[in-house]
């Protein structure tokens, strides 16, 4: 223990040039065009004449140091000692010499890193924390992602989809996973049970009351001690009260289920960005492999793959064929729960005589 505590160097976001592959650094802002010679490989050409091949491989994201070192070994041996990671936790190796591509791919494949995730593939699922680390999860994250990526392996290493498919997961209704072509999210179906013994100690009551989107929580005295009570008819089981007040136990091994959403899109390509829409719910939260959720995802992907036009993202495809057809083709039931009744729901209703049979 040093007598004088070390004060941090507030260096902020570090300079990227120091860690950048030299070919990228040299051609920063100079790239001219690219193509994909095969799934998992990008070929970029610079206006300077330089070229670079990128090999993209899947990882488990939650990596042990041995795995990272293995990736470093490969980078050192086959790829000039530089890598980068994508927003979806894929790793990318850049090489300036086309001949290095094949051995690099072989080395990665040998070590069990799938090559793919580019172009019209299903890329790595956006990954959150779940039971491994978060304090509020209704399910796991790493296990769900691993299970699904096992199932979607072929779709990762091939580019057979109409367009890129971005899948997200979220292990509670807070949804750190973001919007997705397909989103696999926890959905609670029962109001929180309140552990009244703990409220007084653990809970900042006014802020919980304020957090509830439907004003279903009010302060109450229970067994002579300050606690909370929930109007169960109002409660929409969103779980927002749980993070600020852990005694509001929303997670339930049985009643925290999984819901699946379709058509989220962040890019501005063609259509404007759009939010994903509920398509299926009531799916059991079934570790270690979540087969029921996987089945729904695969069904949706299969129909999309078969029916969509080239370049149509999932949501654009559904817009074209219409939601009635989506439910018909996927065999998913359409229920009253699909009809929005939250604020602004009006904008989601069919205020026209446009109808499909």
């Amino acid at each position: 223990m040093s007598a004088q505590p070390r004060m941090p160097t507030e260096s902020g976001t570090p300079d990227h040039f120091q860690y950048m592959h030299p070919t990228l650094r040299r051609n920063y802002g100079q790239w001219s065009w690219h193509e994909r010679p095969r799934p998992g490989v990008l070929h970029h050409v610079s206006r300077t004449g330089d070229q670079v091949w990128t090999v993209r491989a899947g990882t488990q994201r939650q990596m042990d140091v041995h795995t990272i070192r293995k990736l470093c070994d490969i980078a050192d041996k086959y790829a000039d000692g530089y890598v980068r990671f994508t927003i979806r936790s894929n790793i990318e190796f850049m090489v300036a010499d086309e001949k290095k591509v094949k051995p690099l791919i072989e080395a990665l494949t040998k070590e069990g890193f799938p090559i793919g995730g580019t172009g019209n593939s299903v890329s790595m699922i956006s990954h959150t924390q779940g039971w491994l680390h978060c304090d509020i999860p209704g399910t796991d994250a790493s296990g769900v992602v691993k299970s699904l990526m096992d199932e979607l392996h072929q779709e990762f290493i091939n580019e057979d989809m109409p367009n890129r498919v971005k899948i997200t997961t979220s292990c509670c209704q807070i949804n750190c996973g973001g919007q997705g072509d397909i989103a696999i999210n926890v959905q609670h179906t029962k109001p929180p049970r309140i552990n009244h013994d703990l409220v007084a100690n653990l809970c900042e009551r006014p802020s919980v009351v304020a957090r509830c989107p439907v004003a279903a929580i009010r302060p109450a005295m229970v067994n002579g001690r300050p606690s909370l009570e929930v109007d169960e008819r109002k409660c929409i089981c969103c779980g927002a009260c749980y993070p600020p007040c852990p005694p509001m136990q929303i997670n339930d091994p049985e009643h925290s289920k999984i819901a699946i959403w379709v058509g989220g899109k962040n890019s501005n390509a063609r259509s404007k960005p759009s939010l994903h829409k509920l398509v299926a719910a009531g799916i059991p939260n079934n570790p270690p492999r979540w087969p029921e959720a996987a089945a729904v995802v695969k069904k949706i992907l299969a129909v999309y793959k078969q029916d969509a036009h080239a370049w149509e993202r999932m949501g654009e495809w559904v817009e074209r064929i219409g939601w009635p057809r989506f439910f018909e083709l996927t065999g998913l039931p359409f229920t009253k729960f699909h009809v929005d009744n939250w604020r602004g729901a009006r904008a989601s209703l069919n205020t026209s005589a446009h109808v499909r049979f």
């Binding site: 969103c238 559904v318 009253k336 729960f337 929005d340 729901a345 026209s352």
Partner: protein, 408 residues
Amino acid sequence: MSKKMHATPMLDQLESGPWPSFITGIKRLAKDNDMAVDLLGQLEHSYETRKGYWKGGTASVIGYGGGVIPRFSEVAEKFPESKEFHTIRIMPAPAMHYDTATLRKFCDIWEKFGSGLIALHGQTGDVMLQGCTTENIQPAFDEFNKLGFDMGGAGPSVRTGMSCVGHARCEHSCYDEGRAHREVLNSFIDDIHRPALPYKFKFKFSGCGNDCMNSVQRSDMAVIGTWRDDIQVDQAEVKNFVKAKGREYVIDNVTTRCPTQCLKLKADDTLEIDNRNCVRCMHCINVMTKALSPGKDRGVTILAGGKRTLKIGDLLGTMIVPFMKLETDEDFGKLVALSRNLMEFWVENGLEHERCGEMIERIGLNNLIEGLGMEVDPNMVRHPRTNPYVRLDGWDDEIERLKQVKAG
């Protein structure tokens, strides 16, 4: 009668120009109608001061609570002859057909009892007999009533209905609008005449998606013709059309304008239609009136909740029935039953002065559909919900119930 005309320098300016002038008309009346003289005087006064001078009040006929719009002048001391200037609303026949004999009788009655000013028609479709003294309301109405015409709606009541010319003269018409109009409206006669609803309720009937009655936005329940099978195509006429207009014209004006891109002009100048993806928008049929027409399996789509601004902003109606047949007596019976159900649900659940559409906004469409004992359908939404703010504990039971419903 020959009251002296007021000076109306501003109104006089409305006598020039190519469009028929209501001022010239009222002046014509003023020749032998003092009420018209003072009406012009008051109107000129409004033009000068940029303010209105009518106030409401009460006036009606025996037996009815509504249908008369009472107007009393706030400047009666200046314009005494038009101090009472009420309007009587009369329901015309569907699509506003008339023989001249009837119209002439209207004129005669109104010349006798009223100002002689008739609006054909109000925006809700009434014949508006404008300018009646309190005293003359009853005898005037009696005459119209004897002629076979009844009072229209006003106040918190079912309002006069409107239907398009449709079956009578339009090839697009997908159901008998006149019949639907009469069967529905005439099943609410009590609610038309005796205002006792939370607020007004309007029905409009359009024979196809062109919606010539503006039903989507201007009625609480809109009945719009549509079809379930394939668009009828006369390929010979398609070829004629292509020959006459050219392929480019057809591509630019027909195929590329289809909202769901389900039309294809083939190399042999015939048209291919992906009917499963057609949303029955009417566009292609509108352009190629001779070659295309709605399918044979016709019926109606029903929307609920259209209205104007107050108090949450304009609302377009929202689909509550994607399709129902409307051919047999039984079908029409079902339409009447549905309209009664909707009305009852609204009467029970609507707040005071809350239109049907505002209620839907407040309670959620799903609750309306459930309350009507109907099933939701993905056609009712542009897209499913984008938020997880929904109680899903009933999911399994609901899926089970839907399975049973489907099974039989």
